[in-house]
Symmetry: C2
Subunit: 221 residues, 2 copies
């Protein structure tokens, strides 16, 4: 366990006085480890686009909904424009084999450049979805735009998508519906640029007030 | 690399036909690894409350904003009620030493039960914030309610908070503002009940169109 003897406190006043890049790096580290996914879209002109996101969150299972954040001044805007115009996109989990390629999609390529071509990741298409999947990704799904929510505070947009199809390795699907994303090689990230592989600690039983959780399945590796 | 030779496709129709618990487990696994945090609040009557969340996402750095999701039918409602009434809450990252205690806070305790008492986690208070921090947590921050957003599609509420104070071990703060949350022992989760420690793959240089990313700092452990 880490020593918290030298714990330091940083106030909002300190944060507001930070140099801009330092502040962005600092605040982006606070949320803990993040989802890491490549979102694939196609423009109405047929131009493929791919961008890395780390803000996906669960919204509901019935119907299957999730959200992610598009920043007002970011390169993600090509993604948002395509999703708004076509209503379709794909979400592709990232593994250690291509996380540097995923990171590279955040460079400010022009709208007429495909990040697939620029990074060497391969497009893959499935019936019923015009947006490209990432061939290298083991767990991926297509979605339709359900809602766009404006966060008035800072001009950010939250996109809510509805899952339309999920593709995954059969060995990753557990008998109770849980998807073993560690087995698929999926990784996580923190801050703006730090990437991490994972090591399972175990699954826990559903929490009840009259007992402490037990391991449903403990990893010993 | 995992074999995707036995890739299976699951359609929206399949998902809608899943048994309810199976579907919730399945859809909750899709987003990738998640932030894992304990949110501490206090009711207007002085009752401490603690609940685990895995939907935190970054909204902006200036001002420092983040969001998280409160489900309509969940035990998180005590948290939402307290935040709405007092405007204050704390966010506490979770480490392997107490992830089972964190999981246990999701049991449906009555409103007059403190999850601190029920799980054995310790309350900690700081000047300027009436909400309790988790003493065992190395990286934690206080926040004020900024906005509540209703997701009309399924009655979910997105809470937007503004960071007011951050407390962290000095050894975790890197020269560029990045917080090394792996060093703090923070962990991640997936689905409804799977927990994971991490192993750093490295930090990457800022992505530019004219070069492939380099390691800013590579972990070899």
């Amino acid at each position: 366990m880490i020593s918290t003897a030298t714990q330091i406190d940083i106030t909002l006043e300190n944060i507001l006085e930070f140099e801009q890049r330092y502040r962005a790096t600092f605040i982006n580290s606070l949320g803990g480890f993040k989802s890491l996914a490549l979102i694939g879209t196609k423009s109405v002109n047929g131009q493929a686009n791919l961008a890395v996101f780390n803000s996906l969150f669960h919204v509901g299972a019935h119907p299957p909904l999730f959200g992610f954040v598009v920043r007002p001044d970011s390169v993600d805007r090509h993604t948002l424009k395509n999703i708004t115009e076509t209503g379709e996109f794909t979400v592709n989990q990232v593994s250690a084999e291509f996380f540097m390629h995923a990171h590279q999609t955040s460079a400010r390529y022009d709208a007429d450049v495909s990040e697939f071509d620029a990074t060497g990741l391969q497009e893959e298409y499935r019936p019923g979805c015009s947006a490209p999947f990432v061939k290298e990704s083991a767990i991926k799904y297509s979605a339709r735009l359900s809602e766009k929510i404006n966060v008035a505070l800072n001009g950010t947009i939250i996109v809510i998508g509805k899952v339309t199809m999920v593709s995954l390795p059969s060995v990753c699907l557990m008998p109770d519906g849980h998807i073993d994303i560690e087995k698929a090689g999926s990784i996580t990230c923190s801050g703006l640029d730090a990437y991490y592989a994972v090591r399972g600690l175990g699954r826990l039983t559903y929490a009840k007030t009259d007992r402490f959780p037990q391991f449903l399945q403990q990893k010993t590796s």
